[in-house]
């Protein structure tokens, strides 16, 4: 959590300047875009290849690269297609092949991640899954039996995850405990899971709103901007709604709402113990593969 780290004593800061920079002390991003499925060495998925997934990952990364040039962010990485291993989303407490803290690769090694891939969900047992890019590793990164983020005692660092994948934030899965209870512990730094209830459409327009979302969310609105940018109500009879959701974890609804409204990539607020969560959404949103949101 950024604010706590800013309070490091000057003496410690001077000492740390002489040592290799630990991942916990710097601002880092990884984007994962997975275009290819169902081929040799690739993971099976209901859909075939999806050429925009790396495009939107690039769009998300661009403002971070701009911030790096200005000295306002430290590092950003792309881990696309076969470089997007399922093991990067596995925590050591849940999997013997876990690499989620692998430096500059693992999702829990950095502060902010973005992933664009296919996804699915189950309400019982309650979890969402993300299709990964390399069949030599775990092809399905699941919120229940793979993920545990921000567990600093084991080197975890993640604060914010932005998930462009179908069914990655299902309402009923949330009601049944498929997210916070699985991918945080009470002392976790992990705070925001921006995702979709139901399926989310995909096309060349995605990188437009992902780009605007990323540019606009460094200081404020890290949760609410996702709703504003990604909500896509059906226009034609053959379409259904895209229903973005923002799930914020923390000790009270007040601090969670503040993070949703006023938190940002550079302003990663300390929301306290991850004993509860708040699910932000558009009422009445009606997607495919998910109920109409109450």
């Amino acid at each position: 959590m950024k604010r706590l780290r800013r309070l490091a004593p000057v003496g410690l800061a001077a000492l740390s300047a002489l040592l290799p920079t630990p991942a916990l002390a710097i601002d880092e991003t990884i984007v994962y875009g997975i275009n290819y499925f169902n081929g040799a060495g690739q993971c099976a998925s209901g859909a075939s290849h999806a050429p925009w997934h790396t495009d939107s990952a690039t769009a998300f990364k661009l403002p971070f690269d701009t911030y790096i040039l200005g000295g306002d962010w430290d590092e950003s990485y792309s881990r696309n297609n076969s470089a997007a291993h399922g093991s990067y989303f596995e925590d050591a407490s849940k999997s013997s092949t876990a690499e989620d803290t692998l430096s500059n690769y693992g999702a829990d090694n950095v502060d902010v991640i973005y992933i664009h891939t296919h996804g699915g969900h189950s309400t019982s047992p309650a979890f969402s899954s993300l299709s990964m890019g390399n069949s030599s590793y775990d092809c399905s990164a699941d919120t229940d039996d793979d993920m545990l983020f921000g567990n600093e005692e084991a080197g975890g660092d993640l604060d914010i995850a932005v998930i462009k994948a179908c069914q990655s934030g299902d309402y009923d899965t949330w009601l049944n405990g498929g997210y916070r209870q699985n991918f945080t512990n009470t002392t976790s730094t992990f705070t925001v899971w921006n995702a979709f209830h139901g399926d989310s459409s995909c096309g060349s327009g995605v990188d437009n709103y992902v780009s605007d979302y990323a540019w606009g969310s460094f200081e404020n609105g890290v949760g609410e901007n996702w709703i504003d940018e990604a909500y896509n109500p059906a226009f034609w009879w053959w379409e259904t709604d895209d229903c973005p959701i923002s799930l914020v974890m923390g000790s009270s609804a007040t601090v969670r709402t503040h993070m949703y409204e006023w938190g940002g990539f550079r302003d990663r607020e300390d929301t306290g113990s991850k004993t509860g969560s708040t699910y932000f959404r558009i009422s009445g949103c009606a997607p495919t593969s998910g109920r109409v949101l109450p």
């Binding site: 081929g39 296919h118 995909c202 709703i227 495919t288």
Partner: protein, 289 residues
């Protein structure tokens, strides 16, 4: 049904469309589409029956209205001059007494949030919300001639503590306004105005650049049959082998050196997929001015 034509692809056609779209800094070569097998597409082009108009309204948002002063005063309602907080690439971040906001000029991008303390809750009808939103946008300089859908929605919040979910509460009234000309929406251009439970404007999220004076490509010389063929070719090139396809008009905005944009008529090919996301592919219809 005469408006629907079923088009079957030959393996020969697939071989000719085997190159996939480029992908950024990835490690995998594209696969040959022909490996995926051949089925067929059912193409519904009925929504193309209405040909979009070929002129744009004279009254529209101008480049000289996308200024810091107009954004802070007319859009946000700030009464004092904003203070520059930081500059990040194309983006400038400002603060007033009641607002924090980021803008990209002249790209028409605004992300603003009010810090004003909330007042007493009020009930707002959808019609009132829509009226307030369009009035605010009009005050900013955005005429109704370039507004398509204006959809009032309720953003809500629900919490669980220790696994026990509580009731749902209203968080904000949000109105999603989509840019459209001649009944055709412009991809990626929207304004989202959020009003608090007290009815006051509390957040603006907007991408609405000015249109260039000329250079728009608003007509296509292609017939519907030709567009259907192009749609199938585009879907095949994207690795698809079959399914129900629906075609509709869409404008894509092309940036110019001034920051203005020109509009380019395209067709969106919507392919619903069982058990996966719908895919929407832009079909080049060789537009002309």
């Amino acid at each position: 049904m005469t408006l629907i034509s079923r088009l079957f692809l030959s393996a020969l056609l697939l071989t000719g469309c085997a190159k996939l779209a480029d992908s950024a800094d990835d490690e995998d070569p594209p696969r040959a589409v022909a490996q995926l097998g051949v089925t067929g597409f059912t193409v519904d082009s009925s929504a193309l029956a209405t040909i979009p108009g070929t002129t744009l309204p004279a009254q529209r948002l101008r480049l000289d209205q996308l200024t810091l002063a107009n954004m802070s005063q007319s859009l946000l309602g700030a009464t004092e001059s904003p203070s520059l907080v930081s500059v990040r690439g194309p983006q400038r971040n400002y603060r007033t007494l009641a607002w924090e906001f980021s803008i990209q000029l002249p790209g028409g991008f605004v992300s603003a949030l009010s810090s004003a303390p909330p007042g007493a809750p009020v009930d707002l009808t959808a019609a009132e919300l829509q009226t307030r939103t369009l009035a605010r946008l009009s005050q900013f300089g955005l005429p109704t001639t370039e507004v398509g859908r204006a959809l009032p929605r309720q953003a809500v919040t629900q919490s669980e503590e220790g696994g026990a979910a509580g009731p749902t509460y209203l968080h904000s009234y949000k109105t999603f306004v989509f840019r459209a000309f001649n009944g055709v929406e412009v991809e990626g251009h929207r304004a989202v105005l959020s009003h608090g439970r007290d009815g006051k404007l509390r957040k603006v999220t907007m991408r609405w650049p000015a249109l260039a004076e000329g250079g728009h490509l608003l007509r296509t010389p292609l017939t519907r049959a030709q567009i259907e063929q192009r749609a199938v070719a585009a879907l095949s090139a994207a690795g698809e082998t079959g399914g129900a396809v629906h075609l509709s008009w869409r404008y894509v905005a092309v940036p110019t050196s001034t920051g203005e944009v020109t509009l380019k008529l395209t067709v969106a090919a919507h392919l619903a997929q069982q058990g996966s996301e719908a895919r929407i592919i832009d079909v080049d219809v060789a537009p002309i001015s």
